[in-house]
Symmetry: C2
Subunit: 325 residues, 2 copies
Amino acid sequence: MTCSGEDRLIARYFRPLAKHPAAFGLMDDAAALTPPPGYDLVLKADAVVGGVHFFPDDPPGAVARKALRVNLSDLAAKGAAPQGFLLSLALPDGVGEDWLAAFSAGLAADVDEFACPLLGGDTVRSPGAAMISVAAVGALPHGTMVRRDGAQPGDRVFVTGTIGDAALGLRLRQGARWPLDARQRDHLLNRYLLPRPRVALHDAIRAHASGGMDVSDGLAGDFAKLCRASGVTALIDVARVPLSEAARAALDAEPSLMEPILTGGDDYEVLATVSDAKRDAFRHAAAAAGVAVTEIGTVLAGEGTPRFLLHGAPLKFARPAFSHF
Amino acid sequence: MTCSGEDRLIARYFRPLAKHPAAFGLMDDAAALTPPPGYDLVLKADAVVGGVHFFPDDPPGAVARKALRVNLSDLAAKGAAPQGFLLSLALPDGVGEDWLAAFSAGLAADVDEFACPLLGGDTVRSPGAAMISVAAVGALPHGTMVRRDGAQPGDRVFVTGTIGDAALGLRLRQGARWPLDARQRDHLLNRYLLPRPRVALHDAIRAHASGGMDVSDGLAGDFAKLCRASGVTALIDVARVPLSEAARAALDAEPSLMEPILTGGDDYEVLATVSDAKRDAFRHAAAAAGVAVTEIGTVLAGEGTPRFLLHGAPLKFARPAFSHF
């Protein structure tokens, strides 16, 4: 392409997403964000890579939305409202304008849905896989970020939505077969393809949670990290972990799926600990925000990996959490 | 590796770089940065990719520093002081702990040199090349970011350092041969390997420049962008463009190298326009900051690509700027 190719692509596909004065219409080299007075900015960067986090033939719009949403999920779990994001795109030679058009259209839908404008970024060539790196910026009143290390003995453990869908959806993509109807299959596949970050819950989390994080590497492993950071342990009642009808159907057919459900990752739900005194207020705030939350256990004093009890017996996991390394 | 591999790598190689309370020692899911009251945060993301921006056998410490420095160069050109950065690392299977140790040691040196702590990020597997994406955060008093669109007719055009070294260094890496001594060769090779962002100049730029940007895609193309954004044109006296002794020696041997010198990119110098009234103050401030600046031309009213005059005749460039697309 010509020397102006990069500028033309930015103008055509990305400028419409830069709906914030801080972005200068992507006409400058950097954004200048004016933080709300008295607020902290919450910063998070996460990348998705073709062949690792998504399939190269996934719809480009879904890839774009996933790249943004995995970051918005973190902001929500920390209690922060999205302010905008930076995007670094590394694209293989085979990627043409059709792909970019679909990618930016998907991203545009999320920019609107989550009121999270594109603030800047860059686009480069990749000799291998596509890599989409997002750095998301959120804001919250100074000193109020909900941290991993705030859980207290006696707190109740809550999760949003349902757990394990994406891990099962990935296994379906990889060829697993369970007795599911088409709607159930689609549900699991879509939950892998397109996370649903609980952005609407951020105020409720900040107002009521003692500790929180998003579930991205599996409920068991991520909750163990939260307990370790907080210097506590916990009991989780596995029977109360919220499952979708589709996940329930797969689990009924193959009970060993309980492990990937609890450890497989890609949930992008929020895990929060809430004191007994704030439990009802949290439930009401979540309902008002339109986000389902379920109480699944109790934080306990002491050290050690939280125990996941199924009908009174502790589960042992062969591989407690997803890790790239 | 085990499920705790990722956490162990972060603790060992990256936690020591997170020297800022906002980073929570990389023990949480996000950073919470408290902006200085009355300041804007300047945000910039740029990625470097193995086989595109660096050679796969480049020293890992230099790769790390380049990934950070290309972003710090933008902050400096905008007049912002570094506050910290997020790092997204996608690493091929072949990358082991030796590579990571050298990578983080290089990065640690720059964290100290530029007072720019690591605030967060993530590390994932790449099925292809290594990709390092940095999102850098700078700060400056509200509304004072130096923009591309501020150049005024009559302003003087300044650049820092020397131009064209990195473009020639890349050509040496690719097999070009010119009559240079070892020191001259090393100078050019090092300028490609390790940019020298003009971070120390950020206050002088903010105080005195009407417009500015960093030179990353070639002086000719980048300055044309600045002129277009500002609605002006310019005359550049090519004989005044600062060249290193090594670049001068290569150019003397092969006069056609003037084009890659002016258009080849990877300079990471600052290009600034300064009003006649502020010219001396800018020169003094730059000298006080220890950064060489050279006046190379004048901004003119009117439209059109700035003219680069060599002994009175305009240069024509076959490929005015580097572009990935």
